[in-house]
Symmetry: C2
Subunit: 627 residues, 2 copies
């Protein structure tokens, strides 16, 4: 039996079957509801307010009695009984997130030291017509003409293309344009078009993040980025992190739904880019994709379950070049899709792309790449060697597991200054979008801890100093909390606070990252001062205050000028892989040679982790400039 | 409006739409009617006897007034008006033809000097299970294990296979069998199966002739031919020779119908072979096909039209390895299909296969390969050079254009002896199947001319000697004819004769072949005595009496012991290409390096042709031992 579900404040109504959950209805309506635990009913992030009608909701400890009385219910576990009207509270909505599209420019992409040689390119051929003397076949005529211009040994051509040749050549006076593509170590004639179309050849560089999806539309003739687009990864509705996505993928049809969600996103971005640039979508002949290993598995509908199970084995890290349509990506029907290779389950193609983008694998000197997201991936090395690890830092810096935590979206406190004068402390903060605050995002969490440590309000163990008198400090059931803003000044009408429990989470996260960095350095016998550059990548990157991050012991204490933000290095690396086969091969070499340290079984890591469970560190000597 | 058509003597009834032709109805019924001109109404080979009902038949000069009165009509041009009953006269039916399947044996195929390395082969892998220390992906684990056993640089794997890996490996204790296939210069993982299935791997060698289709089922582990099957090429119903097939292919849906006809034939043969050997059709993982260029174009539904139009350019001579299902061939759904490369429009992969099969391209000494069918293809050379040509000999030796000519099928006179004593000459003949004679096949035509020349009944210009008195000779409207058998002793109730017109056709055919041989020899400066071996291939081959063929000037006068029959060298060459990639690469090299002489524009050919328009030749010195 179908029932109607109306979502407020948007006012959108959909029909679903009775007994569907509110989350399923929201997915049907294309409305994002924050859902971190993948619909297990434990994170409580998906609470909605039932305004009219009936639902069957499980008893859950994540809702207070007060919330239940008001009509709050969890979207993920509430089964719809009748026509209903629900309101999605601000806290459950995702909107206006800043998505890092990397450094967008219409200038020519710097490919040095890689030679320009795109995944697909077009070559105009003015063929010599056949005669009784020169009577090679149509296909051999094309292939040998190409081989005279470019020296490829092996060339393959699909039956579809061969079938078109005869008419195409004769109707166009033997003038055609071939699109050549690199596949599996060989060169393929991807398509043959009438006359000279070689000016119109485009490619897509794609970054699939767990949270966001970014594309660059690249003119493959001029190597310019002519359009960029970004959106949320719609898979968010099935879970916030890779683990909950994999769990969802294990359900019947789960993988197919996740694949559809991401391919719809990508196709929408492509359509938008095509509309804005007025190019023909059939002139997009290739797409290069970077993403973490789980995202790539879900894009291609590969079995992802073993990524989350010991010993964490992905189905594939090096993937063949396929036709984009095999993954339901809509560009030229014969266009190619290539994925930047991954190192393993938790160091994906996005990291390989990052290494390519920052150029650390080309340098004599030693660099480090740090990409902090749900996990923190760290790479250390130079042109001769590369090591990497994934720190299971947890999603604290993305606002998950933090009482008032949220992503860096509209309403998030992103910068904080705290100054203490005698018995009074002043709190200044900046909110994304200049609206009333709704929560605290990762960069602000770092600011807060740094400032609280500086003022002495917070002790180096992560507990509030009970001896400090401060009007912002108060007790709660499990300890103390620091109040930034009271309900009357917030968007949610609730106080925005940071609790000792939150600080403990952040302490664990920063300790995990710092310990990972230390292990890599120790394993390789590299002193922090030996590092010439630390590249900071990822969505978190550009908002990070480096000195404050060092002061809490998240990042190593090396001169601030050695740190460099590189924005979305994943999409930048994919762009290089798109326009330079040379760069793509370098990515393969990097993914092959990079040594992965599994910290889960590393004794040194446990030792370093314990040592880092202190702000900034048990060995204060390491951070003496910041004390 | 549907009408019923009943075919006698078979007694089969089909329903077709009114206005269909009788030929179409026969095709619908799966009944072969001889049709040489491709339904143009000019060859008269498809005449049928209307017993009941009405048809709309065009006025045609190929039926005599007497035949029209009796109710004969042409199946190809007669449109059906009502329910009808037609009888297919013996002359229009094809049955019991001897199909040359080559030398069938259950012994191991001799591949020397080629290394055994089949197009597809199975390799059992007992993989080391992954651990936290050894954590490469499932795909890389398989690929590196293969690479440890065999040294392939590049390896590609389709998404379909990658998707199955994860479960397959874990459910089978990391014991799987991979099928590896050679594709486009790279190695592909065609499929992965549970546990050890490496003992079950089969391939098909296929020869698609214009008239017949032959397959060998080969055990790729033991390199033994375990079954052979042969049938007619059902495309015969659309025309007898390649030109009429191409003309049919140019009609709407023509190519699709021709493709369906041949693929149905092939699939039927495979099903039969599988049934007889009780193997699993999914264990057939590859198929290698040899055929003339037109047959290959029709198999793959390529545009064939330009093969018959100046300057005779095929769409492709070197074709990529594809999945067999792309050509609708039913073996393992991921099984591979490879075609032996062709030299040009009129020297196809069947000839390249023949060169491989006879081994002439491996020898120091000079050999010649002659394959006489509708065209006569001739190859001359050794391991250093190869030249070839196609003699447009016409189909006389297949019985076409000969008053009482027919294929070497049941009822055909295949051997003839004539002895003359004074005024009486005795004619002895042998009929295929030991039945009453119905017509004369190619080998008998050669015997007849040889014998008639020997007895002096026929002059060296191809006219009957008017001074000879012989009870078998009589006049007809356009000259003289020799009567072998009178109607009372024949299956058709008509006299079996050979006319001066027939002899003129044969003279032209033999002159074309002999002139082609001469041109190749002269162009290369090779004397007939320099030839060590002449390989005779093709359906015609094994029934040919070599001394008689020399005596009429069809074959060069070299010692008879230098001639060697090699049977169906096309399917034998395909077999080598199937079990030895080495042999396949040799075929590619041969097709690439073989020089094709286009005789159509060759002055020397015209000169040689005129010189050969005499039995055996205007230069009698060349055949003095046979005079």
């Amino acid at each position: 039996m179908p029932v109607k579900v109306t979502f407020l404040p948007i006012g959108k109504t959909v029909e679903v079957q009775k007994d569907s959950t509110i989350l399923e209805a929201a997915q049907e309506a294309g409305i994002y509801i924050n859902s971190i635990c993948g619909g297990a009913g434990v994170c409580g992030k998906c609470k909605v307010l039932l305004k009219e009608g009936y639902v069957d909701s499980k008893n859950t400890p994540v809702l207070t009695e007060e919330e239940k009385e008001k009509g709050y219910t969890l979207a993920c576990t509430s089964k719809i009984y009748s026509d209903i009207v629900v309101e999605i509270p601000l806290i459950s909505r995702l909107e206006g997130v800043k998505i890092l599209t990397g450094e967008i420019s219409t200038s020519v992409i710097q490919t040095q030291p890689y030679e320009i040689c795109p995944l697909t390119y077009k070559l105009f051929l003015n063929l010599t017509p056949p005669s009784l003397i020169d009577n090679t076949s149509d296909l051999s005529r094309i292939e040998s003409t190409i081989q005279n211009k470019k020296s490829y040994k092996i060339m393959q051509t699909g039956l579809t293309v061969i079938k078109q040749l005869s008419d195409l050549l004769r109707k166009n006076d033997w003038q055609v344009t071939v699109t050549l593509g690199q596949r599996g170590g060989t060169m393929e004639i991807v398509q043959v078009e009438p006359k000279d179309t070689s000016l119109y050849n485009y490619g897509i560089a794609l970054d699939i993040g767990t949270t966001t999806v970014v594309i660059y539309l690249v003119d493959l003739n001029t190597c310019r980025i002519i359009n960029t687009q970004a959106t949320y990864n719609s898979q968010i509705q099935f879970g916030d992190d890779v683990i909950s996505r994999i769990q969802y993928a294990e359900l019947p049809d789960g993988t197919a739904k996740l694949q559809k969600a991401i391919t719809d996103d990508i196709n929408n971005l492509i359509v938008e880019a095509v509309k804005e640039t007025k190019i023909d979508i059939n002139d997009i002949t290739s797409i290069v994709c970077a993403g973490n290993t789980t995202m790539i598995h879900l894009l291609l509908a590969l079995h992802s379950s073993n990524i989350r199970k010991m010993p964490y084995i992905p189905t594939a890290t090096f993937l063949p070049v396929i036709r984009a349509r095999e993954a339901n990506i809509k560009i030229n029907p014969r266009g190619l899709l290539s994925c930047i290779p991954a190192v393993g389950s938790y160091v994906g193609g996005d990291i390989t792309a990052g290494v390519i983008a920052c150029g650390m694998a080309e340098k004599e000197s030693i660099s480090m790449l740090i990409d902090i997201g749900t996990n923190g991936e760290i790479v250390l090395g130079n042109k001769d060697w590369l090591v990497c690890c994934s720190a299971s830092a947890g999603p604290s810096f993305e606002g998950v597991g933090i009482k008032c935590g949220m992503r860096a979206s509209k309403g998030a406190i992103e910068k904080v200054n705290i100054s203490a004068q005698k018995d009074k402390c002043n709190v200044n903060y900046k909110v994304i979008g200049g609206v009333k605050p709704r929560g605290i995002c990762g960069s602000a969490l770092i600011d807060i801890i740094s400032e609280l440590l500086k003022t002495g309000i917070l002790s180096r163990t992560g507990k509030f100093n009970r001896e400090v008198v401060c009007q912002h400090l108060r007790q709660y059931s499990e300890g103390y909390e620091f109040v930034f803003e009271t309900g009357e000044n917030t968007d949610t009408k609730q106080d925005i606070v940071i609790q000792e429990g939150d600080i403990a989470s952040i302490l664990r996260s920063k300790a995990a990252i710092y310990a990972s960095i230390s292990v890599l350095l120790k394993e390789m016998g590299v002193a922090p001062d030996d590092i010439e550059t630390i590249f900071i990548a990822g969505g978190f990157g550009n908002y990070l205050n480096i000195p404050k991050a060092i002061s809490i012991g998240l990042l190593p204490n090396i001169p601030v000028e050695k740190y460099k933000f590189i924005g979305n290095s994943s999409v930048n690396g994919a762009t290089l892989g798109l326009i330079s086969n040379d760069a793509y091969e370098k990515a393969e070499e990097i993914a092959r040679k990079m040594t992965y340290f599994e910290l889960m079984v590393n004794q040194e890591f446990m030792h370093e982790f314990v040592a880092a469970m202190f702000f900034p560190h048990t060995n204060l000597e390491l951070f003496k400039e910041y004390l």
